[in-house]
Structure formats: C-alpha cells, structure tokens
C-alpha cells in the first residue's frame, strides 16, 4: 500500500431545477471514494451526458452539504446528503 487510504462513503444525492432536468433524476444514492464536494462533482462529470452538461466547471453550480450551502472544498462524510442546484431565484 502506498500511503493513500481510500475510504468508501455512501452518499445521498439530490438535484434541483435545471440540473434535475438535465440529469433526469431528482436524486440517487451513490457509493464513492470522493473526499470532497469537488471530487464528487468531478466524478459525476466523468459520467458524461446530462451530468457533464449540468455540472461542468465554469457553470454557476451551487452545492449544499447536509442542507447548508458549502464551498467545493467541503469534506464528505458517511451518509451525508449532497445537493447540486443552479443559482436560487425565490422571493
């Protein structure tokens, strides 16, 4: 073993608005070795198709971890809830 410990996490994903439509799902459960929101986003982009379109870097994608807005550097944990959505437009 060469140092890096890969922890596998079960994560609940949620997608909203235009991102939900592009991916074609409101949510899904994934098993991942991603440690951060950014790594998880990259993993989803690598799936291609609607994931790559909706989550592409350079787009205004907002992320929430356990229902709090978070930066991409936020660390994932076992059983956490992650949401991807476009800029909010309520009010």
């Amino acid at each position: 073993m060469s140092g890096t410990l890969h922890v596998t996490l079960n994560i609940n994903l949620k997608y909203f608005a235009s991102i939900r439509e592009a991916i074609g799902l409101g949510g899904e459960s994934v098993v991942t070795q991603a440690a951060t929101l950014q790594a998880l986003r990259d993993e989803l982009i690598a799936r291609g198709g609607g994931y790559a379109d909706a989550l592409a870097h350079g787009r205004a994608v907002r992320m929430a971890l356990n229902q709090d807005l978070c930066q991409e550097s936020a660390a994932l944990s076992e059983g956490c809830e992650v949401a991807f959505f476009p800029p909010v437009t309520g009010g």
Partner: protein
C-alpha cells in the same frame, strides 16, 4: 410572539397574518411587511404561469438561519415568512415577510434584510411559461449586491 416559516402551495391572508403576528404583544409599535407577487412580464416576455420548486428541509433550515441572523442584528420581537411553491399565475401572492418592533426603523430594516437574504440564500427556483416556451428564471447579480450591503458576501450568481 415567535419567528415562524411556512412553505405552502395554498394562498394566505395578509390581514390575518399581520394580526396574528402582533396580537398579544403590547410592546409592538411597528409592523413592517413585504409582499411579493407574480408579474405578468419578466425579461421582455409575457408570463402565463410560473412553477416554483424548492428543496424541502433546506428551505426551512435556511430561512430559520436568516431569522436568527435578523434577531442578532435588529431589535425585533417577531417575524413571519411565508413562501408559496407549485403553480402560480400573474397577480398571485408568492412571498410574505413581516416583522414587529417597538419603533419603525428596526422592523423596516429587518424586513428588507430578510428579503435580501432570502433572494440569494433560500433554495427556491422559478420556471416561467412564456409564449416562447418554458424557461428557468436567471438569478440576478443585483440580488447578490443587495445582500452585500448588509456585509454578507453572496455568490449566488458566480460560476465556478
């Protein structure tokens, strides 16, 4: 009184809400409120209807957090936020924010603060039906700027 949030499909009665917010609290000398409604035109197109989506759970959590922040910043007694979701038509009520205080200054400021916060931090999304088809409403940079006036950096519209 209290600080309460309701996310609902049904309409609401502004008079009843204002009465409920201040009744039983004789310290109140000022009640300020904001009511947002559906416009028939947006970004150059006529709007036939609008669908409002939200993130159940996070919506309530984010609005409770903004009320906690308003309590810290302003001398207010109670606040009420109602936001409708689902299908709405022009002239329909969408959002209601009301605040009570002893004097008008604090509730005016708190009401505006709560709306500025909600615009960029609460997970709601609007989709309009126009003659050109259905479209998601774009977030406005001016809403980020509105929150920045209160010393809170908003990055709702920033690409990354």
């Amino acid at each position: 009184m209290s600080f309460t949030v309701s996310i609902q499909t049904q309409d609401f009665d502004v008079s009843q809400e204002l009465a409920a917010l201040r009744t039983g609290d004789a310290r109140v000398g000022a009640v300020c409120s904001f009511l947002g409604t559906v416009r028939e035109r947006n970004d150059g197109s006529s709007v036939a209807s609008m669908a409002l989506e939200h993130y159940p759970g996070m919506t309530e959590k984010s609005i409770s957090a903004m009320m906690d922040e308003a309590k810290k910043r302003f001398d207010i007694f109670a606040a009420r936020v109602i936001h409708r979701v689902g299908l709405l038509q022009p002239e329909d009520q969408i959002v209601f924010v009301a605040v009570t205080s002893a004097h008008r200054g604090e509730s005016f400021k708190a009401c505006e603060f709560l709306m500025d916060y909600l615009k960029t931090q609460a997970p709601f999304w609007k989709k309009e039906v126009t003659p050109e088809g259905a479209r998601w409403v774009d977030a406005r940079v001016s809403d980020d700027q509105a929150l920045a006036r209160w010393g809170i950096a908003a990055t709702n519209t920033v690409a990354k």
